[in-house]
């Protein structure tokens, strides 16, 4: 910005005009996307922000209710359950997906035979149809005759969990499906970052007598922190807004065992027609994600290393 101001000061009117027309070309390239974003995302967000303070059933008159929608939240047992479930889900999926993705990336960064095939296999769930993934997982975890429970029984587990058909195991089942689906994508990001670590670091560490674990702990992990930071932000946001996988796998059930905030928002809006109240729930979710993301950015300087080699 500073340099641009400087150059503008010293430029002639004709150069300024040329700069302007260059900008215009750039803007015209951005325009289609920006229009789409404005119409389909920005306007609804602003509308929803306003709706959070109103009462509307989607058809009849809108009325202003101030903070009533937010005051109602604490008495709404489903909201409290959904909030708890969402936090549970996020705190399980984010670290576990990161660990699995990192583990896979380190393994598939070794010079092993057919590693490209393995990389493709692990990436595949990410591009597979989500509905198909959900249906197949439900089949795998079928309580009586599913392959997973058959296997557990051969291992001697007499009463294997009933997975998505039990209130205690439904959430872990959904978490596992999420990790399996997402880890391939984050593995690719880690792989790219791993390949960017200069080999001289490992070589000199080896000369200094560092064992493989020490090399991993003191070279790989710190060198990967920028990727880890990026992944933690992306994962946190995507975990907070989980909807589709849960809707297809359990529809929020059994009972309310896997009801998360987005599912509750959807139910209150499109099944109960409380668009105002639903927007208030959405705003709480927004504030939550926003707050956590800001904290993550604030913490960045404490642990992320941007080395200059």
């Amino acid at each position: 910005m500073g340099t641009m101001k400087l150059s503008l000061k010293t430029t002639s009117p004709s150069r300024r005009r040329r700069q302007f027309s260059k900008n215009l070309v750039a803007y015209s390239f951005i325009l289609p996307n920006l229009l789409g974003f404005a119409i389909f995302t920005l306007v609804p967000i602003v509308f929803s922000l306003g709706l959070a303070f109103m009462s509307w059933d989607g058809a009849n008159e809108i009325s202003w209710v101030g903070l009533d929608n937010f005051a109602k939240l604490s008495d709404d047992s489903t909201f409290n359950i959904a909030l708890k479930n969402t936090l549970w889900y996020v705190s399980a999926t984010v670290p576990l997906t990161m660990v699995c993705a990192l583990g896979l990336a380190v393994l598939l960064n070794q010079p092993i035979r057919g590693r490209n095939i393995f990389r493709t296999i692990y990436f595949f769930p990410y591009v597979a149809s989500l509905v198909a993934v959900a249906v197949v997982w439900n089949m795998l975890f079928f309580p009586s005759a599913g392959p997973v429970n058959e296997f557990l029984r051969t291992l001697g587990v007499e009463n294997p969990p009933r997975w998505s058909a039990s209130i205690d195991w439904a959430m872990p089942t959904v978490v596992m499906a999420t990790i399996w689906r997402g880890m391939g994508y984050y593995m690719i990001i880690y792989l790219a970052a791993l390949q960017g670590i200069p080999a001289i670091l490992y070589e000199s560490a080896e000369i200094d007598g560092a064992n493989p674990w020490q090399r991993f702990r003191y070279i790989t992990v710190p060198m990967l922190t920028p990727a880890t930071f990026f992944i933690s932000i992306m994962l946190t946001i995507s975990s907070f807004k989980v909807f589709d996988l849960i809707l297809v796998m359990t529809n929020g059930g059994p009972g309310r065992a896997t009801n998360v905030l987005v599912i509750h928002t959807y139910n209150t809006a499109f099944r109960q027609f409380k668009f105002g109240y639903s927007s208030a729930i959405a705003m709480v979710l927004f504030a939550l994600v926003m707050g956590i993301t800001i904290i993550q950015f604030y913490m960045e300087r404490r642990w992320v290393e941007y080395s200059q080699i």
């Binding site: 058809a59 309580p143 039990s166 209130i167 929020g252």
Partner: protein, 427 residues
């Protein structure tokens, strides 16, 4: 170069505007010309590919009214009401809206998305008494917003081959739930892949809860749900003893009730009369090869045989429709005697039931002889009454049903939670 750069965005914008205007103009003129010459009506429907009657009635109507074309908007059955709610909130202008159930009807009615039909009915001189009470059930605060065209009741389907093999007499038309339970236990045999289940309860809440309102003392919207305990005790007991398939598995596997019945795995299936058409069709296509029969829905002790629960499927006119008069003409046909005859001919029970129309139904190839007797009713209770909060109530009922059936809660705990949560909604 400079000028070219300068003018390009301007040209681009001008072209964009020109295209927009052209599109807009085309749409407007298209709409006008369509109205003056011929009418195209749109109608929302579900599972068009597997439900033959939608198109059959439309074909009959178009044959009688060559200037009208009716196009179906196909929506998957399980997502029908959710999809319609979202579409209508967005100002959807589909002319004719099929009303699948009472929650859907309440939702559209209380939000002014469907128009009252009283004036049309008066102008056409339509006699609503031919629907034998169904029209009254759709009347809300003196107005009726939909005409019923299908009326289904719950009956009991049974697999004759399994009964013959077990050497047991077929279910009678006068059977209590206790007798049903005992019979199902006798019919259960085998294990593993060869297991025969005595009965089958589909995952729907209604499959269990309808039996609790047959006596007419309570309705599904209540301030105390303890009256549901006997039925839930019976069904969870059957589940525990392996007389019926496990609820959690049916849920996890997303198993449609036609599967276990048509595979010959279950002896008795309480289900709506809409299933007759499907069974007749599948048997004709050799999907299964056993004999089946139907009997009246079982009833609680002390309630007259032939007391059952029913659902209405009806047609309404969208408030946003530009062709309301044409739409009325169509739904009058659909719900009237001509439409009813076509419906009956495809193995469905029309809401309009004259002896002549029932004869068409009973004489269909493949409909079991017992159907005529089994479909006679003494009292039909509505699955869900009209209520402004019915959508929210239904969600709670479904969640608690799920908790009871997965044995996450005991029957009493589940019904208590149901009562307290629904109390909060109805306050």
């Amino acid at each position: 170069m400079n000028k070219w750069l300068n003018r390009r965005p301007v040209k681009f914008l001008a072209a964009l505007l020109a295209v927009l205007f052209a599109l807009n103009g085309g749409l407007i003129s298209g709409g006008v010309s369509a109205q003056s010459e011929s009418v195209t009506l749109t109608m929302s429907a579900w599972d068009v590919a597997t439900t033959p009657y939608w198109q059959a009635v439309i074909d009959a109507y178009e044959a009688a009214n060559p200037n009208v074309t009716v196009e179906l908007v196909d929506i998957p059955s399980a997502e029908y009401q959710d999809t319609m709610n979202i579409r209508l909130s967005g100002g959807d202008d589909t002319d004719i809206l099929t009303v699948k159930d009472i929650p859907g009807y309440s939702a559209m009615l209380t939000r002014g998305q469907i128009v009252p039909l009283n004036d049309y009915i008066e102008a056409s001189g339509l006699d609503l008494s031919v629907y034998s009470g169904a029209a009254e059930e759709l009347t809300y605060e003196g107005s009726i917003y939909a005409l019923p065209f299908r009326s289904d009741i719950w009956i009991l389907y049974y697999n004759k081959t399994i009964f013959d093999a077990a050497g047991l007499a077929y279910p009678t038309n006068d059977m209590t739930w206790a007798e049903f339970d005992a019979l199902a236990r006798e019919l259960t045999s085998g294990s593993g892949a060869d297991k025969i289940y005595g009965a089958h309860f589909h995952v729907w809440r209604s499959a269990v809860e309808l039996g609790t309102v047959q006596d007419g003392l309570n309705t599904i919207i209540s301030d105390d749900y303890s009256f549901m305990a006997p039925m839930y005790d019976m069904v969870t007991g059957m589940q525990k003893d392996g007389i019926i398939m496990d609820y959690g598995e049916l849920r996890a596997g997303n198993i449609h009730y036609s599967g276990p019945f048509e595979n010959g795995q279950v002896a008795m299936l309480p289900m709506g009369s809409w299933f007759i058409g499907r069974l007749v069709g599948d048997q004709a296509k050799d999907v299964f090869d056993f004999d089946w029969g139907v009997a009246k829905y079982p009833h609680p002790e002390g309630v007259e045989a032939g007391t059952t629960a029913g659902t209405l499927t009806s047609l309404a006119i969208n408030e946003k429709s530009d062709n309301k008069d044409a739409a009325w003409d169509f739904i009058q046909f659909y719900a009237g005697p001509e439409g009813a005859k076509v419906l009956a001919g495809t193995g469905n029970l029309p809401a309009l039931r004259t002896p002549e129309i029932l004869e068409v139904f009973a004489s269909l190839e493949g409909v079991p002889a017992e159907a005529t007797e089994a479909l006679q009713t003494t009292t039909v209770r509505l699955e869900l009454p009209m209520h402004p909060n019915v959508g929210e109530v239904e969600q709670i009922l479904n969640e608690e049903h799920e908790l009871i059936m997965t044995t996450s809660l005991s029957v009493d705990e589940g019904l208590e939670e149901m009562t307290s949560r629904i109390d909060e909604v109805l306050e």
